[in-house]
Amino acid sequence: MNNWIEIAALEDIPRLGSRVVKTDTMNVAVFRTRDDQVFALKDECPHKQGPLSQGIVSGTTVTCPLHNWKIDLDSGCATGPDEGCTNAFRTKVENGKVYLSI
């Protein structure tokens, strides 16, 4: 079941950057890659809850600003030797609008 919610225009998210979406229960970080793919993760690093939305995006990973864990945008899981996952949410882009399903 998908509850698609329109959250923003694609242009509102900077390339290789992110926006924070506040919901009732948590913050979601929505990322945009160089080639305009959009991903959404719960805005909490699996390490010590660092705000992933504030990290540096490259390829399809984001590097957490607190201790440099590298998180895969698609799965929400840490890459390399680190271990742990945060929640990943589905997104889609249609007619320049970004939708999120939580």
Binding site: I7, I56, L66, P81
Partner: protein, 812 residues
């Protein structure tokens, strides 16, 4: 269809190449490995501790069978490749397997050289190379008493030590009059010999073996002078010969080793070779550090990235005999014209010698006290000019008390619970544990697995020392140049030069030109490139916010709870009641939970929510404040003392000069944070001598000091010169900053920069060369035109709003 890669030789260099390759491109090849030994890949270096009973075989396995399986590698142990069919592109093994290849990697290592004297093939005569040899020695030690080790080099002494630990009576026979003559000079070798003798080892020096005696099994050794001794076990450790038979038979060009070019390719371009079997630019290597460097290069080319070059290595050696500390590197025997620095304390059994040429270390021998070995080796490889601390260099790095190298050298003595990385709370025990259990060799590995040294980096030296003391010289410190990050093989210097020479003005241009592996770069190189481009092309390059750390992107310091701190700039620390009132009003309005007067003489407002930042800045900006850049790799503060206007000791207007300096320099982006101070007299209340640029006023003018910092390791400044006017202070300061901005590596503070390039070099540019100073100053002022735009004001006026405004959605 995947291409097929076959590795011959399941040893240290070959498997390391596969590890590097899997990191770069795990999917490219279908990999098959043949190893003549019945084991998965193990740490050959650690055979000596296994022999000495300090470790077990299980302890030294580097990659167990599960690792091969997980990575889809077909492993054939106990099966040697006997022929390479180059025309048919396949290998044939002793057990009759036939495997085709698209690329072949030879890593056949070397064989111990067995002196062909009569009797050399008797039972009980062996080399010291693999687990089987160790097992033979351990067996013999149970049954027999007397062992002779032929060869008094590194390997021979480690074997002798191990046999002695197993209760054997050991005599070392050596052809020369100096033990370990390839690593030691005579005084150090004599100290070594004396302390081994004290442990019960016997020596026959300048003695040549002529025959192994005994019927069937070795029973004794006969020497050229006719004398004989008893021996139930004879270990030959007189050198190694690259194992080239297989390659030679396949018609691949070999000399002493398999000849390879800088890309580790043999004369057959489909065939690569790494490790001890290789000869590169006429050199063969017998230590792992250079082999690991080769592995990296070979992997780079196998992954078809094709940009890495192996350019040879300088190696260093340590002896792994418990209780004996010995270190050697480079050209340790002086040549004519060299200078030698020697510190000898026979009572303490210690000896240190450095060979110096043109104020640069060329070689080192340390005995007894080797704790500074890593440091000297670093200075040697970096070609650091040591003139500034030559008079104390032999006393070691701790004696310098500087921040530059950030190295705490007494690391071996630290307890396991000593915290090494304050940033990530990592203790020595955890690091040692990770190195041992995960088989780590490089600083990067340790960073990745423990997070130690991965944040502020100031403990890097400590971590390197722990690595060095834990894995011995297997520690991969060799890279003669450090790549900027994992995305490239090029160093900071090469990239800075490239940006200038080739007028690279965008990040994509830099990454394209230097063939970055990763189109977006990573969190390490993006901020560095962004800085280099900003510093080189002021007014042309547009800052890329997405390549800045969050602190610089949000113009505030992110705190551990995700809130931010705000520090308005107070020029020279001066303030007015209106300013204080304005700050107080802002604090009230946004309910700032805590305020503090910082050591940089301004006021820090903590606990601000990100969404409030733009509003708060707007208010501050309307009250006339600009950002204090307390968050940035940028000009931080100019600390001042009371000075002549008030203080009875004051000689000049230190506060006024501080304000002028801050007005000149604020807003400037730097490789790292940059702090200034001005003290009104030599009492130095503003602590100007631990700043990046410090001014100490005196009656007759202004003393200028550079390259200091506080921090984990304090470094006191060097006195640059004295000038007569405030205008001159501004000019020298601007020129120094610009030199640093243009030439230092990103994240390198002035202290290590000055030490790396040499104080004389900086002084020459700023003081002696007036034209250069003026040009630097002009360039600095030009770039300041674009830098002195208050980021707070810009945001308050609407720039980058998306950075601060969350999108709110309520439950669907």
């Amino acid at each position: 269809m995947k291409e097929k890669l076959v590795l011959v030789g399941n040893g240290m260099a070959g498997v390391r190449t596969l590890e590097e390759l899997l990191k770069l491109d795990p999917e490219r090849y279908e990999i098959t490995v043949f190893g003549a030994e019945p084991w998965p890949n193990y740490n050959r270096i650690m055979l000596s501790p296994v022999l000495a009973g300090e470790k077990t075989v299980d302890d030294i396995i580097l990659n167990d069978r599960a690792w091969y399986e997980e990575n889809g590698i077909a492993l054939h142990t106990g099966d040697a490749v006997v022929r390479i069919d180059r025309a048919g592109r396949k290998v044939l093994t002793g057990q009759g397997e036939e495997v085709p290849y698209d690329r072949l990697l030879l890593a056949t290592g070397s064989n111990p050289f067995i002196i062909p004297v009569p009797g050399h093939d008797k039972k009980g005569v062996i080399g010291f190379r693999d687990i089987a040899d160790v097992e033979t020695m351990l067996e013999a030690a149970k049954k027999y008493e007397k062992a002779v080790v032929i060869g008094g080099g590194l390997l021979g002494l480690e074997a002798a030590n191990g046999l002695m630990k197993n209760g054997m009576d050991v005599t070392v026979v050596h052809l020369m009059d100096i033990l370990m003559e390839r690593q030691l000079d005579a005084p150090a070798a004599n100290l070594l010999k004396a302390s081994l003798e004290a442990q019960g080892m016997k020596f026959l020096m300048e003695t040549q073996t002529s025959e192994i005696l005994g019927d069937g099994r070795a029973q004794g050794v006969k020497f050229a002078d006719g004398s004989e001794i008893e021996a139930d076990l004879v270990v030959m450790a007189v050198g190694i010969r690259p194992n080239i038979g297989l390659a030679q038979a396949a018609g691949i060009h070999c000399e002493r080793g398999i000849v390879v070019n800088d890309t580790m390719q043999t004369y057959d371009p489909r065939i690569y070779a790494v490790g001890e079997c290789v000869q590169h630019r006429g050199q063969t290597y017998g230590l792992v550090a250079p082999l690991f460097e080769q592995a990296k290069v070979a992997a780079n080319h196998l992954a078809q990235i094709g940009i890495a070059r192996y350019e040879g290595s300088v190696t260093s050696t340590k002896l792994k005999v418990t209780g004996i500390d010995l270190f050697s590197a480079g050209e340790f025997n002086e040549q004519e014209g060299d200078e030698t620095l020697v510190l000898q304390d026979p009572g303490m059994g210690s000896y240190k010698k450095l060979v110096v040429r043109d104020n640069r270390i060329k070689g080192a021998v340390l005995y007894g006290d080797t704790i500074d070995g890593t440091w000297y080796f670093q200075l040697l490889r970096d070609g650091t000019d040591i003139s500034a601390f030559r008079n104390t260099i032999l006393f070691g790095q701790h004696d310098l008390g500087d921040a530059g190298h950030g190295d705490e050298t007494r690391v071996a003595a630290l307890p396991d619970d000593a915290e090494i990385c304050g940033c990530n709370g990592v203790c020595k025990g955890e690091i040692v544990d990770a190195i041992v259990t995960k088989g780590l060799f490089t600083l990067d590995d340790v960073k990745a697995h423990t997070k130690a040294a991965s944040s502020c980096g100031s403990c890097t030296g400590l971590v390197e020392s722990i690595l060095a003391s834990t894995v011995g010289e297997g520690y991969d410190a060799t890279p003669s140049k450090k790549p900027l990050c994992g995305c490239t093989e090029y160093s900071h210097d090469e990239i800075i030069a490239g940006i200038k020479e080739h007028e690279l003005k965008t990040m994509d241009a830099v990454r394209g030109f230097f063939e970055w592996k990763n189109p977006d770069g990573c969190a390490a190189c993006r901020p560095a490139l962004n800085y280099y481009l900003l510093a080189n092309w002021p007014g042309e390059y547009h800052d890329d916010p997405q390549s800045r750390f969050i602190n610089e992107r949000a113009h505030g310091n992110i705190q551990k709870d995700g809130t931010y701190s705000v520090v308005p700039r107070l020029f020279g620390g001066l303030c007015t009641p209106e300013q204080l009132r304005a700050i107080a009003d802002v604090a009230d309005k946004y309910q700032v939970p805590e305020m503090k007067v910082t050591g940089g003489q301004r006021i820090d407002l903590f606990g601000v929510r990100k969404e409030d930042l733009p509003l708060m800045w707007k208010d501050l900006s309307e009250a006339g404040f600009v950002s204090g850049h307390a968050y940035g790799k940028a000009l931080r503060t100019v600390k001042t003392c009371a000075g002549k206007n008030w203080c009875r000791f004051g000689t000049q207007d230190s506060t006024g000069l501080g304000v002028r300096l801050e007005e000149l320099t604020w807003g400037s982006w730097m490789p790292h944070k940059f702090k200034l101070a001005v003290s009104g007299c030599p009492r130095n209340c503003a602590e100007a001598t631990i700043k990046d640029f410090g001014v100490v006023c005196v009656d007759s003018g202004y003393e200028l000091h550079i390259g200091g910092n506080g921090g984990i390791k304090v470094r006191v400044t060097d006195l640059l010169c004295k000038v007569g006017t405030e205008e001159a202070v501004l000019e020298y300061c601007g020129a120094f900053i610009q030199k640093y901005r243009e030439e230092a590596h990103y994240l390198e503070r002035t202290a290590p920069w000055v030490e790396r390039v040499g104080f004389d070099y900086v002084k020459q540019a700023i003081v002696d060369d007036e034209a250069q100073r003026k040009a630097l100053y002009e360039r600095f002022k030009y770039s300041q035109q674009f830098a002195q735009i208050d980021p707070w004001k810009a945001v308050a006026e609407g720039k980058d709003q998306h950075e601060f405004q969350p999108i709110e959605i309520t439950a669907a």
